[in-house]
């Protein structure tokens, strides 16, 4: 099932990666990655055309091998849910492609330039992302082949109740941004689904084989790595979405500090942060000229370390600037939030303009990514050799009557 579709997705992913590189490096669209002064764009365009031609030839000459007799018993089945999920993922990829190309299309049609920045992608992709998260929760609850009403009721009851409870609780605790609220609600649905599946699986092994639940859990995963590894990937997706939704609680402050000045601001968690400027320092090190600020930080009156931010101007052997200045962001991270301090400008001898940003749940993006990688590893982990050595059941089928050939050892 879906062999042609899978190959098309693989080929499209490769070609789009090349296409993305081509339009940014060639300067077709404005990008910090463009090499507008070099002829690299033509090479990429040529390679893209060659790659399309070669992959089109390879796929078209193998269509017979990719033919599969796809059958589906019901539109409400796990197989159909896979397709719906697939559709949303492709839709998200298309919206990114479309948003990237729309300035070019608009200029060609209307003759004037436009900018398509983060607000456009947020408008288009947040609804699609939430739909994807919802389907991630619903898919595993639907039975393979055909789902009955009774099956759906039984499967959906606990996850739906959990999601509703989580939604109400998050709202009560002050999450009023709709996208964030839906993200946490759907995330709860997915997590409840995963826990329910693990719980049922472990209990089934406990009943069937009398295994203790701690033993049953790893054996359950080992027995069906694709399924339970997939659930671990889903858990990673939830964590990543929760982290993205944390952006709704981002707080930014512009502070002007002379040496010895303090400023206090409050983050989304209600903590009061005080920044004490130790003044501006200017020095040369290795191949760069550095302007830096150090800030003594306290959180709710308790010392929280020193954060430094730098502006670096790299120079060549003759002391001439090589690139535009770069910024070294001071970061103090925790699982609650990352505090970014950026030295935005210098006023006089010791005055500094700094930007303080509280970015909630940033580390959870990494955690979610690690979970997804772990799930992927579980899915890919090969079966044990002894299982593959079983070549069938011929070894136990001894003939019961005369005239039937002995298959033992065949």
């Amino acid at each position: 099932m879906l062999r042609k579709w899978n190959v098309t997705l693989v080929v499209s992913a490769f070609l789009l990666a090349i296409f993305g590189t081509f339009i940014t490096r060639s300067g077709v669209i404005s990008s910090v990655h463009s090499f507008a002064q070099s002829p690299v764009g033509k090479w990429f365009a040529g390679f893209l055309v060659a790659a399309i031609a070669v992959t089109a030839y390879l796929v078209s000459t193998r269509l017979k091998d990719l033919r599969s007799n796809a059958e589906l018993e019901s539109m409400v089945s796990r197989e159909a849910a896979f397709l719906y999920n697939n559709l949303v993922l492709v839709g998200i990829a298309f919206s990114v492609l479309w948003g990237t190309l729309f300035p070019i299309i608009s200029e060609a049609v209307r003759g004037n330039k436009i900018t398509v920045g983060p607000p456009f992608f947020n408008t288009v992709n947040i609804p699609l992302g939430l739909l994807l998260l919802l389907l991630t929760g619903i898919g595993p609850l639907i039975a393979w082949r055909r789902a009955s009403v009774a099956n759906l009721k039984r499967q959906f009851l606990i996850p739906t109740a959990s999601a509703a409870t989580a939604g109400i609780l998050f709202f009560a605790f002050g999450v009023h941004d709709l996208a964030a609220l839906l993200s946490y609600t759907f995330g709860a649905l997915v997590l409840a689904t995963i826990l329910q599946e693990f719980y049922k699986g472990v209990n089934a092994r406990h009943r069937m084989y009398g295994e203790g639940r701690l033993i049953a859990l790893p054996r359950l995963i080992a027995r069906n790595r694709r399924r339970y590894g997939g659930y671990i990937v889903h858990a990673g997706v939830v964590v990543v979405f929760a982290a993205f939704a944390g952006l709704a609680f981002k707080r930014e402050f512009d502070l002007t500090l002379n040496a010895g000045d303090t400023k206090t601001v409050t983050d989304a968690w209600g903590h009061r942060w005080t920044f004490l400027s130790q003044g501006i320092s200017r020095y040369n090190v290795l191949n760069r000229e550095v302007t830096a600020i150090a800030l003594d930080v306290t959180r709710d009156g308790k010392p929280a370390g020193v954060i430094t931010s730098e502006k670096r101007q790299h120079v060549d052997s003759r002391g001439a600037p090589t690139f535009e200045p770069s910024t070294e962001v001071g970061i103090q991270g925790s699982f609650k939030q990352d505090v970014y301090v950026v030295l935005a400008g210098v006023r006089g001898a010791d005055g500094a303009e700094i930007r303080v940003t509280f970015n909630p749940l940033v580390r959870w993006v990494w955690l979610g990514g690690a979970l997804m990688a772990l799930g992927g590893l579980v899915v890919m982990w090969p079966a044990a050799d002894r299982l593959r050595a079983q070549a069938g059941y011929a070894a136990v089928l001894k003939p019961q009557r005369a005239g039937v050939p002995d298959l033992v050892g065949a």
Partner: protein
């Protein structure tokens, strides 16, 4: 089908790690250092154009600092950085364009103009490219709606495919049973073997 053994799989993992480690820049390092430009930055004299309007009668600023910052998030800095004015002026040390655009915003705010009027004034001077996202009108609506139209079209195609595949499933009871040339004992032994190894 080529099957990878556990031994091959485990031995292969360090190779993936070595390839990742050999990449020129660590991921964490890339996160910490923000290089805002890789080409020459536009000179303010070349790209900056003043956006001014006469102050309204009895004008007073009708916008908080937070609202002004939010407004600047919607205005595209013209220095070539692809950032909005607020982000550029608060993170880029060397940009001379965003401070000038910020000064224009401040002037318009103190002149009593609201967010929509200020955006319209910037659009009149620089064109639509000065907005971080296209306005939701005219041809731009194609931009905003196309992903959803494409998703809808995809849903129709997938629905059609699913119906076609559903029609291929034989009705219950239609599948003919094939005669089996085996004794009851053989079938029982087979059944037992299958159950034992399942």
């Amino acid at each position: 089908m080529t099957v990878i053994s556990r031994r091959e799989f485990v031995l292969g993992l360090p190779i993936v790690g070595l390839v990742a480690a050999a990449s020129p820049r660590g991921v964490l390092g890339a996160q910490a250092v923000v290089q805002t430009f890789n080409g020459p930055m536009a000179d303010a004299n070349e790209v900056y154009r003043p956006v001014t309007l006469p102050p309204k009668a009895n004008a007073s600023a009708a916008m908080t600092d937070a609202q002004r910052d939010e407004l600047e998030h919607q205005i595209h800095c013209q220095c070539g950085c692809n950032l909005d004015v607020y982000t550029c002026r608060t993170t880029d040390f060397a940009c001379s364009v965003s401070p000038s655009m910020h000064a224009d915003v401040m002037g318009l705010v103190s002149g009593g103009y609201g967010a929509k009027e200020i955006l319209a004034a910037f659009k009149a001077v620089y064109g639509e490219k000065v907005l971080m996202a296209p306005t939701k009108s005219g041809f731009n609506l194609v931009g905003y709606t196309m992903p959803f139209v494409a998703l809808g079209a995809g849903a129709v195609i997938v629905g059609g495919l699913l119906k076609r595949w559903k029609s291929r499933v034989p009705a219950a009871g239609v599948v003919a049973s094939h005669p089996v040339n085996a004794t009851e004992g053989e079938l029982a032994a087979l059944d037992e073997a299958v159950r034992r190894d399942a």
